[in-house]
Symmetry: C2
Subunit: 285 residues, 2 copies
């Protein structure tokens, strides 16, 4: 199959490596000529160009740009596609993406491969990045069944864990497990930095170990990603933040009231439930 | 030197292993005869007993029981000690410990070796647990200089990073980097579990990966430890929780107002500051 990839970063480049290894012809488009050259060198694409016209022969196009560039990119891309071309994206938010792109292209399927690492760019692309990782597809009642099957047929052989859900369900789920943790963790760092006593702040920095390191990790990450989550998933994130604040308020009240029994019950419940989130589930049948 | 250790768990047992390897004679006391036997087998002590009378020849006693047992243990221990015996503890909270034990024993030095792992008990004890880890001593204006020097002389050869501070400074510092993270992380798990839509909750569990895993780790840990932090470090924890809630409220307001510039500035500040907490400082001169 002829596969187009727009945006040759970590995700686009890694998809190219994997899809080529499964026998597809991969055509890549990047705004930068140097990225196109590097993608060819790395074997992530068969051919690459700064022009979207390269994709006129594509059967399927993966849109791998940042969320903020998707709308304009698709408007520019559409004149080059045949109506049979299936368009899918890899954005980490789905409600906004589907509402924006579905009216523009009938053969559109929202998607979100949940893989990555802290590196970015074509040089970070790697084989097998998506192996055993969740790959969420968010078709709506308007999405053609054949388009869904086409995307499934491409990503299932990469040994992804495939899920289907409504775009809003996806956004609520990732608000809990991906976007809320960033905000919770960011507020931890910010509040520690507010310590007014210089000696205490210095001591805190010196004594911080694995507990602080893990809890603060995602809050100390890429600021653009954090802003993107808040911007494109605002409703679901606010919904999660509000529930979180309620729980925090309850906990603060329990500490203030010295209600150790209630705090212990809360922590026991957490300890019991957390493995349901962190143990990898089996592949969907 | 004759060293007494009361409480032969992970910390007490590991101290015994290290101190014996530095040529000291180590006498251990546990409430359980089986623990005494195991400590001898493991080489953590030269001799062990369920009776505190074993410690009558000790030059220094390390109190390694849980915080809740310290007061009663010291009252029971005192009749067996000579007045020259230096008493120190390893509790993770210092204000309460020092206020409780200092009036009972003139030669008392508060201490907190900040090492550990998820295991507990004598079988988890290991050589070198304290190597390169912070060891905080919290003497007051009442603490005899010689007692401080004696404890330093024992723990410095273990290649610990030695710090001195006031007990309340210690408690404020660990509230930020150890106790607040537990409460922040616990509230994250609890709020995710509050998702009312079963499909979304199931999806959240399936999609959770390293971001959620790291941010939720300490909040899903040992409930007794969490309660202990809240109970014995209540004032400092409430102080940190209050600042944290203010930051969370500011962030929620910024998301609600779509103030992406402010959120980006906040996240950039975090990204820049976090390494000051997570990079290990050099040994104190």
């Amino acid at each position: 199959m002829n596969i187009g990839i727009v945006g040759l970063g970590l995700i686009g480049g890694s998809l190219g490596l994997d899809l080529r290894s499964h026998g597809h012809r991969v055509l890549g488009v990047s705004r930068k000529a140097a990225t196109c050259e590097r993608a060819i060198e790395r074997g992530a694409v068969d051919d690459a160009s700064v022009s979207l016209s390269l994709l006129k022969s594509a059967d399927v196009v993966f849109l791998c740009t940042p969320l903020g560039a998707m709308e304009a990119t698709v408007d520019e891309l559409i004149p080059h596609l045949t109506s049979a071309t299936v368009l899918t994206d890899v954005g980490s938010v789905k409600g906004w993406v589907v509402r924006t792109l579905e009216p523009r292209w009938a053969n559109f399927v929202g998607g979100h491969p949940m893989a990555g690492n802290t590196e970015t760019g074509i040089d970070a692309a790697q084989f097998g990045l998506f192996t055993h990782a969740p790959y969420v597809l968010t078709p709506t009642e308007l999405t053609p069944i054949e388009a869904i099957k086409t995307v499934e047929g491409l990503v299932q052989p990469l040994q992804t864990r495939l899920y289907h859900c409504h775009p809003d369900e996806h956004d609520r789920a990732v608000a809990w497990i991906s976007h809320l943790p960033v905000m919770v963790s960011a507020s931890l760092i910010a509040s520690c930095l507010d310590e007014p006593d210089r000696a205490v702040l210095q001591l805190a920095k010196a004594l911080a170990s694995s507990g602080f390191r893990d809890t603060s990790r995602v809050g100390g990450g890429n600021p653009e990603l954090g802003v993107m989550m808040a911007r494109y998933n605002r409703d679901a994130l606010l919904r999660s933040l509000t529930v979180y604040r309620d729980h925090l308020d309850q906990l603060i009240a329990q500490v203030a009231q010295a209600d150790w029994t209630a705090i212990e019950a809360r922590l026991c419940h957490n300890q019991k439930a957390r493995p349901e989130f962190v143990e990898v589930p089996p592949l969907e049948a």
